[in-house]
């Protein structure tokens, strides 16, 4: 009976670790989605000067939809009041969120060239963060799983 309990605790810890590792992967998915969104904004604004409400209205991305980011941005035309709320829904790191908050302060209130520069800057930050997360992801996922499994094993040993 004790042995079965110990195995169960270890397995639960391992799966918990796997879930945590997956959430890291989801962060990467969010950064991928943001990168696509910023590329779309850059393209639409520089070539067609599409208003932001149309860009957000027409952009399709499952991840940003699921997080509630896009639905919130589509809820009203003036972005200033809701941009920060939408960013808060993202599961990205604090640094990226901080940059996105700053970006939102002037979003839609700048002339073309300045707006494009801000988008380019934000896009670069996202790309850098994305590249570094992508690089460290397998290692990070492995260590999360290992640590969780070890915690589970130790708990099982103590309980035994």
């Amino acid at each position: 009976m004790n042995l079965i309990g110990a195995i169960l605790i270890s397995l639960c810890s391992y799966f918990f670790g796997a879930l945590l590792a997956d959430s890291e992967k989801e962060k990467l998915c969010t950064l991928d989605a943001l990168d696509l969104l910023f590329s779309d904004m850059q393209r639409q604004i520089s070539s067609l000067r599409t208003p932001l409400y149309l860009i957000f209205g027409e952009f399709e991305n499952e991840r940003l939809e699921a997080l509630g980011f896009l639905p919130l941005l589509r809820s009203q035309r003036s972005l200033q009041p809701i941009w920060s709320e939408a960013v808060a829904l993202l599961d990205t790191d604090g640094d990226i969120k901080r940059e996105l908050y700053i970006f939102g302060e002037t979003l839609g209130n700048l002339p073309l060239d300045e707006q494009l520069k801000r988008i380019e800057y934000c896009k670069e930050i996202i790309s850098l963060s994305r590249a570094s997360l992508k690089k460290s992801l397998p290692e990070k996922q492995k260590s999360i799983k290992t640590v969780c499994l070890l915690i589970g094993l130790m708990t099982a040993i103590i309980l035994l």
């Binding site: 409400y53 972005l79 002339p111």
Partner: protein, 293 residues
């Protein structure tokens, strides 16, 4: 949508609330509202400038409600539908067209590249279609034939409303045979929605001289209508006239004789380009004065 609803759509909530408290008849007669950074907000009804406090009571300028820079920013954001870059060219020329008609004039600091960086003032000006405003002109055309016409009035006396009505009546053939009317609408004021529902073609957002030339060459109009003509459009007007196109234009002055005295529109008046003049008085009624020799 009435005029006050249009105003409320673009104004920050605090200013809308104050305006909402104004007497209804006054609110409906407002043609323009002006927001100035850290300075009094004013409304214009006819020729009267009105300042008010936060509770919507008329008050002297010294105690009038002021707009903050954030409110100016919010107003510009609403005017540009949250995407200022879509209006860069217009902003560089000092205005933002409103989708319902009319324009918001803007003032601010140059960005050093021919545009406006920080915006200090916004003046939202509303326009209405009063179909009968130019009836007197259409009747004159119907009786004595179409002629080059200059509409003279001081600012905010209804020149654009008159031109819009003339375009509407002439292109729909109200009291006259329908005519091909083209509008050189540089500031997107005469027909901001792009239609007047008659035989009317509208070229918006292009400098008047260029627009008159383009319309003459490509649209074979019978009449060209344009707002606030100046000496710099003289060449284009003369070319249009030589091809038999009639022009209906407007100019800032109380009487056509003033233009001659001050030498404004010199060449056009001297050459007798305009053979019919319309004046608009304080009552906004159109009159056809005889020009003294």
């Amino acid at each position: 949508m009435n005029t006050s609803e249009i105003l409320f759509r673009y104004l920050p909530i605090r200013i809308s609330k104050a305006l909402h408290s104004l007497p209804e008849n006054l609110l409906l007669s407002i043609d323009e509202i002006r927001l100035r950074k850290d300075s009094p907000i004013s409304a214009t009804a006819g020729r009267k400038n009105l300042t008010f406090d936060e509770s919507g009571r008329a008050c002297p300028v010294s105690s009038a409600m002021c707009a903050t820079s954030l409110e100016i920013l919010e107003c510009v954001s609403k005017l540009t539908e949250g995407s200022r870059y879509t209006c860069d060219e217009f902003i560089a020329r000092g205005f933002i067209p409103l989708s319902e008609g009319g324009r918001a004039g803007i003032c601010g600091r140059s960005d050093g590249r021919g545009g406006i960086g920080e915006i200090y003032s916004v003046s939202i000006r509303l326009h209405r279609l009063i179909p009968d405003a130019a009836k007197i002109l259409v009747r004159e055309f119907a009786e004595r034939g179409v002629r080059d016409t200059l509409v003279c009035a001081p600012p905010a006396m209804g020149k654009t409303t008159f031109l819009r009505s003339a375009a509407f009546l002439l292109s729909r053939g109200e009291g006259i045979n329908p005519m091909r009317v083209c509008i050189a609408d540089e500031r997107c004021e005469i027909a901001p929605s792009g239609t007047l529902f008659g035989l009317c073609d509208i070229l918006s957002g292009i400098p008047k001289a260029e627009a008159i030339t383009m319309l003459t060459r490509t649209m074979s109009p019978e009449i060209i209508i344009c707002d606030e003509i100046t000496e710099s459009e003289a060449e284009a007007v003369l070319v249009a006239q030589s091809t038999g196109v009639a022009l209906i234009a407007s100019a800032h002055c109380t009487h056509p004789s003033e233009l001659i005295k001050k030498g404004r529109l010199g060449r056009l008046v001297e050459l007798g380009v305009f053979s019919l003049f319309v004046t608009l008085g304080d009552d906004r009624k159109a009159r056809l004065p005889e020009l003294e020799a």
